[in-house]
Every structure is written in structure tokens, then in C-alpha cells.
């Protein structure tokens, strides 16, 4: 009985300490920049207007095979989770050719906003991104959750979206 009670206290202590550290860690995460995205069709999208949604900002280039390789999974994830509060913005790097980006977005039937980072301001604002693909995940409060270099682990992303967006 005493053992059980001690175990209970130990678990309670771990839970309280864990939750405290976790909430501290969550609070320490930096806020995403107040970026303005200009989509291929000229419409503008402000990151701050997407508060309440989980947002992925993916930097990519048409010259990057890995980026193109993950597009089908991105399309599928977007179609599934966008109605539940997920938004995805695909930012083509400044060195990419606008024509090639437009052609790829059209031929690939990309359903999410595609943005040209003319001048490279967005890449600079997002941790001075140089290599692609680099994907930032931002929570509903506008804070960074993660930065992924290279291909996204879609199992983990879907787990996170299932947990954060609810049913």
C-alpha cells in the first residue's frame, strides 16, 4: 500500500515537473515572422491572418528533385487536413524561374498557395533559409513548432495534425 502511494507521488511529481518544463519549452518557442506572401495569381496572404490554423511554410525550388518528390504527399496531406484548419504555403526560392514555377504548379495541380520569393525576403525572414526543401511548421498561436531540413516525415506530420487540429 505504502509502495503504491509512493509510486503515485512519484508519478504525480513527474507529471507536474514534466508539464512545467514542457510548458516552459513551449513558451520559449520563437514567433514566426509577420510575413506577407504574394501568390502566383497576385493575391496576398498575411501569415498573421492565419492565426488559429496550423501552417506549414515550405521553401522549395523546381531544380530540387527532393522538393518535387514530396509534392504528391503534400497535396494529399493538404487535401485531407485543409478543411480541418491546416494551411500550406509553398515558397519558391528567389533563384527559381517564375515560368518554371508556374508551369509546375499548373501541371502538378498544386491545390495550395504557391508563392514566388522574388528578392529573397521571405527566405531571409525564415531563419535565412538557403537550402531546400526547408519546412517550417507554425502553430495556431503563430509560434514555430519545428523546422525540417530535407524531406518531411509525413507520418509525424499527420500525427501532429491529428493531435493539434482535432477531429
Amino acid at each position: 500500500m505504502a509502495f503504491k502511494r509512493n509510486l503515485l507521488f512519484a508519478l504525480a511529481a513527474i507529471a507536474v515537473l514534466g508539464a512545467a518544463i514542457a510548458s516552459y519549452a513551449l513558451a520559449q518557442r520563437p514567433a514566426a515572422p509577420d510575413a506577407m506572401f504574394t501568390m502566383l495569381d497576385g493575391r496576398q496572404l498575411r501569415l498573421a491572418d492565419l492565426r488559429g490554423k496550423t501552417v506549414a511554410v515550405m521553401f522549395w525550388a523546381t531544380s530540387c528533385p527532393i522538393c518535387k518528390g514530396e509534392m504528391p504527399d503534400l497535396v494529399e496531406t493538404y487535401r485531407k487536413y485543409q478543411p480541418r484548419g491546416f494551411e500550406l504555403i509553398a515558397v519558391a526560392m528567389a533563384y527559381d524561374s517564375p515560368e518554371q514555377v508556374k508551369n509546375f504548379a499548373k501541371s502538378g495541380g498544386l491545390p495550395f498557395p504557391v508563392v514566388l520569393d522574388t528578392g529573397g525576403d521571405l527566405a531571409r525572414a525564415f531563419s535565412d533559409t538557403k537550402v531546400v526543401p526547408t519546412t517550417f511548421l507554425i502553430d495556431g498561436s503563430g509560434k514555430f513548432v519545428s523546422r525540417t531540413l530535407g524531406a518531411i516525415d509525413f507520418t509525424k506530420l499527420r500525427q501532429y495534425l491529428d493531435a493539434s487540429l482535432g477531429a
Partner: protein
């Protein structure tokens, strides 16, 4: 009791997730370290460009090209790129890549009056381990004829 256990496990899980996010990012090398490049003149009409990709990195053969600027009396006659390793890409088809150090011979046509040249080397590559690609690189090299 069971609820507490779950709470404790959830707290530990969140902590591990946080640690995972913090530790996950392996930073890529700066481009100059990822793809080292040395350029030198060999004889009166040949420039040698030596590329050394860092371990786990590769360059694209078809994105490696050269140009001249401020090089009065000098023209590039031929660029001899060695054969690369063939890579099949679902989007780009068959591509040749360089994972190991290579030497590129750039054969010049120059008039006797030509004194110097500026070679612009363009190249682009990726880090295979992290799975990221670098922006196109352009480096400028000033060379003087002996």
C-alpha cells in the same frame, strides 16, 4: 492512478517531442565547404577547375558551366566535363552527378595580347544525407597568363 500514469507519460512524451524538435536540425555545410573549388591555369590555353564535394554531397553535371568576363582576347573553346555517376530521377530523368573530386578542363582560345581573364564558375549540388539542395553557386576567379 491510471489517469496519473497517463498524465506522466503524456508529459514525458511532450518533453521528448520538444527535445526531438530541438535536436532534429542537422545544419548543412556552407556551400563553399560543401563544394570546394580550386581554379588554376595549366599552360597557355587551359584552365583547370577542381571540384571537391564534401562527403555525402554531389554536384549536377548539367548545372556545371563556365563563362568569361573582362577577358579581352580570350574565348572558351571547349569545356571538358568528365562523365558523372548516372542517377535516375523520377522528375528529371537520367542525370549525371559528381560525388567524388573531379577536374574540369577549360580549353581557351587566346590572342598573344591577352593578359588576364576572369572565369565565372557556375555549379549546383545537393546534400544527399540531409536531403537538401543548395542554390546555384557562382564564383569568380581572376587569372593572369604567365
Amino acid at each position: 492512478m491510471i489517469k496519473l500514469k497517463h498524465a506522466a507519460l503524456a508529459a514525458i512524451q511532450i518533453l521528448m517531442l520538444q527535445a526531438g524538435v530541438a535536436l532534429a536540425a542537422e545544419e548543412p555545410l556552407p556551400p563553399d565547404q560543401a563544394f570546394k573549388l580550386k581554379v588554376s591555369l595549366r599552360g597557355p590555353n587551359t584552365v583547370i577547375a577542381e571540384f571537391t564535394p564534401a562527403k555525402g554531397h554531389y554536384l549536377y553535371k548539367n548545372k556545371t558551366f563556365f563563362a568569361l568576363k573582362n577577358s579581352s582576347g580570350v574565348l572558351i573553346r571547349e569545356v571538358r566535363l568528365p562523365p558523372g555517376e548516372v542517377k535516375n530521377d523520377p522528375f528529371f530523368g537520367t542525370m549525371e552527378t559528381y560525388k567524388k573530386p573531379i577536374q574540369v578542363e577549360i580549353v581557351l582560345d587566346s590572342t598573344p595580347k591577352a593578359k588576364r581573364l576572369t572565369l565565372l564558375a557556375n555549379y549546383q549540388g545537393c546534400n544527399e544525407k540531409i536531403g537538401v539542395c543548395y542554390p546555384p553557386q557562382q564564383k569568380s576567379f581572376d587569372l593572369a597568363f604567365p
